[in-house]
Symmetry: C2
């Protein structure tokens, strides 16, 4: 029964204290801003009924859903024909009724419909939970990771678009990451499609221009022509996408009613932000498309100002998120934060505060049983003052104790021998400067401003 | 495709903001105490390889493990014979390689073995994560719930037992729950078994006395006799379990070497605690058994002082937790907090602070487009001062706005009309007292002590 080399499953990771503490630093920064803006947390179960999830993420998504095997004698109710034919896909619904959460959006839509009579609308919520995807594990891509979403549902006010932009700005300012916040509106993209006479190819157009980040303009034009858009129209589209001024673009798409509605919405968002001093750049970018088809109004994306670092978050306005669960016409808008990318970026740029590196603040060491008991008592006083304190469990063995102190990188060592015990003092060594001096417990506590 | 009545799976729950905020209040209280004592967080994946979990929780545990169906064409590698025979249990290992976390102990043991070269021992960690069990759903019993464990591994120092008692004491004092902390030692139970000449029936004895909480003494004696313990010995066992004084018990089990070792360990724990002022009662209770067989030394249990409320936590010393993964002789000790029970108890006794009830602190309402923009600007200043602020998205419609304000139980309403805008002020209504007065934004901020 004994396994001698147990490992986490492929595609998953353990998090050691240093990583958890740093990740919580990011989440706490985000949480604080969310709550200032009146968003509060909800949590949904790790698994949902498969019927809630299936068909919501496209064919690939269905394939990447982790399914939970039914308990007990699951074969008793298994689809016999699928079993006979060894047809895994056909068999699945009869032996697995639940699936692990794939994102936070669909469970949120289900939540809103299920609890609509308990909620007060507009309902503002944030949600920071893990999601699971059966992607092939590879470097930097995991089967389990955190998502961090904030949404308001039940109002079409453009004030919320302005709030979400302020939230992005405040969070990244707090984390010390300089970003560009890109803003566009799906209705403007409709306007561009109509101005270029390809209104019926809107979806194909957005899918193609969504790739402008990774592909050359030429390749995007080729993709559009392959999808049935004439080359001259594809070129005109790309020309319009380069427009920097909203007025200029409004003129170009002035024959599209939807397009002008998009322009108006963008202007209204700017009206709300007029008196706001953003710490990061807000950029109107008509080339921003966001692949997801459920967006219907403003869309956002955040990128680190330094090129090549990819997206740190995105989102937008949707008008029909809950329709699939029988509650139509509920407008909402939301954004998400790419927690994994933010973590990697902050690590790479050394943006985490130094004090997160060390866990405990003071380590006591003693020479014999009596001084060890004395050290335990003194440590209790520090702990009561909210100073993170530890005592090495063995006494004597000075070398071993010092080795431990160095390994955990503790900033202060509190040394207790007979003399300290008799004079009711402690010898405190600053492990950075090497300085050592004897002091009372109150003096030690005051070193930490307590 | 549209489902019109989507629900959470049976045995699982959504958590609305009020519940998440209250649960986080408990977790934060626990976390702060853990960190003062030098324990830091780790996280392990939601699923483990099934070989890591299987056989660790007994036969019932194996049955209650949620298994994750392999991705892709899982039937291709399915056990053909088991398929043919419709044998669900035999088939499972070939179609499900992963299982959801059943507790935090086994994953922690796996973690320690996997990362032994990265960790500094003694290693002190806490872990607050969800676990999943395929129990039949019923009132108060869920398939998904949080566990909250704290352990130190890699030292047999009894100082840690004393620390864990201090942690229990500090956490429950902070939460306002009066408890009794019960303390015993498995070696003392061995001593009692040996003193009653039933050393070979030790496990049966502990299983029986573990039921003293729920069964009469007579029934426990009957159970012991049924397990092959003579009635006179069973009676003597129960007599010894009633001993309140450790000295008296030491005398009664003086012929048992193991028993005396247990007495010595208990005394050492009291030595460390000698100068500690506990806020709750610490009670030596030789009748405390703790069912789990991996405990080898001190054991703990916490009960609310008011009778009938059951256990709020428990734990103990184990000497061989990691042996099953090929790392023997690693002593550790840990306790856990019954977060769900603590939550229910605090709710029942109204122990949550009032300020957790309301989310936002100030709600702005306005009369027209211009005052709405002005309100948005003022709200931004409050938010920057970390005051949880919201603006109703629609202007005018006074009745609708007031209805919303009442529904969310906001303590302060900030009303903005033409006059307020012209004089750069806000009319602030205290929703509890009903008082209303006009003030500057700085005066409003100072209401919150900012």
């Amino acid at each position: 029964m004994a396994i001698t080399n147990p490992q986490t499953p492929k595609g998953t990771r353990d998090f050691l204290p240093k990583e958890v503490i740093r990740r919580n630093y990011i989440f706490n920064a985000i949480r604080n801003v969310f709550e200032q803006f009146g968003f509060f947390p909800i949590e949904t179960p790790s698994f949902e009924n498969l019927e809630t999830l299936t068909g919501k993420y496209g064919e690939e998504g269905d394939r990447l859903l982790f399914k939970v095997l039914n308990s007990g004698d699951f074969l008793a109710k298994a689809d016999r024909e699928a079993l006979q034919n060894l047809n895994s896909i056909a068999l699945t619904p009869s032996i697995a009724k639940k699936g692990l959460r794939y994102d936070l959006t669909v469970p949120f839509a289900r939540f809103v419909v299920q609890h609509q009579n308990e909620l007060v609308f507009p309902f503002k919520r944030y949600q920071i939970q893990q999601v699971w995807r059966a992607d092939r594990p590879q470097k930097g891509r995991y089967q389990e990771f955190y998502q961090c979403d904030v949404d308001v549902i039940g109002s079409d006010s453009l004030m919320y678009e302005a709030e979400l932009i302020q939230i992005y700005d405040a969070v990244f300012a707090k984390l010390g990451i300089e970003v560009k916040i890109l803003l566009n509106n799906r209705k403007i993209l409709v306007g561009i499609a109509e101005a270029c006479h390809i209104g019926d190819k809107f979806v194909q157009m957005t899918i193609a221009i969504d790739k402008l980040d990774k592909m050359s303009e030429e390749s995007v034009i080729v993709e559009m022509t392959e999808k049935g858009i004439q080359e001259k129209n594809a070129k005109k589209i790309l020309e319009l996408l380069r427009t920097e001024s909203i007025e200029e673009l409004a003129e170009a798409i002035k024959d599209s009613e939807t397009g002008l509605k998009g322009v108006e919405e963008i202007k209204k968002v700017y009206d709300y932000l007029e008196s706001t001093e953003l710490k990061n750049a807000l950029v109107f970018d008509p080339a921003l498309a966001r692949g997801l088809n459920y967006y219907t109004g403003c869309i956002f994306e955040v990128k680190a100002s330094q090129a090549g670092l990819g997206s740190l978050g995105g989102g937008g306005r949707y008008d029909d998120l809950t329709a699939v669960f029988g509650k139509p016409d509920t407008s909402g808008v939301g954004i998400s934060f790419g927690a994994e990318r933010i973590f990697d970026l902050m690590l790479e740029k050394s943006l985490f505060p130094d004090e997160l590196i060390t866990g405990i603040q003071v380590l006591f060491i003693a020479f014999d049983e009596l001084t060890h008991l004395y050290a335990f008592k003194q440590a209790g006083k520090l702990r009561k003052s909210s100073i993170k304190t530890d005592i090495y469990p063995e006494y004597g063995k000075m070398k071993k104790q010092m080795k431990f102190a160095n390994a955990i990188q503790v900033p202060y060592l509190a040394i207790v021998g007979d003399e300290e015990m008799q004079t009711n003092t402690i010898s405190v060594k600053n492990m950075v400067s090497g300085e050592q001096s004897r002091m009372s417990i109150d003096e030690l506590i005051s070193l930490f401003g307590k």
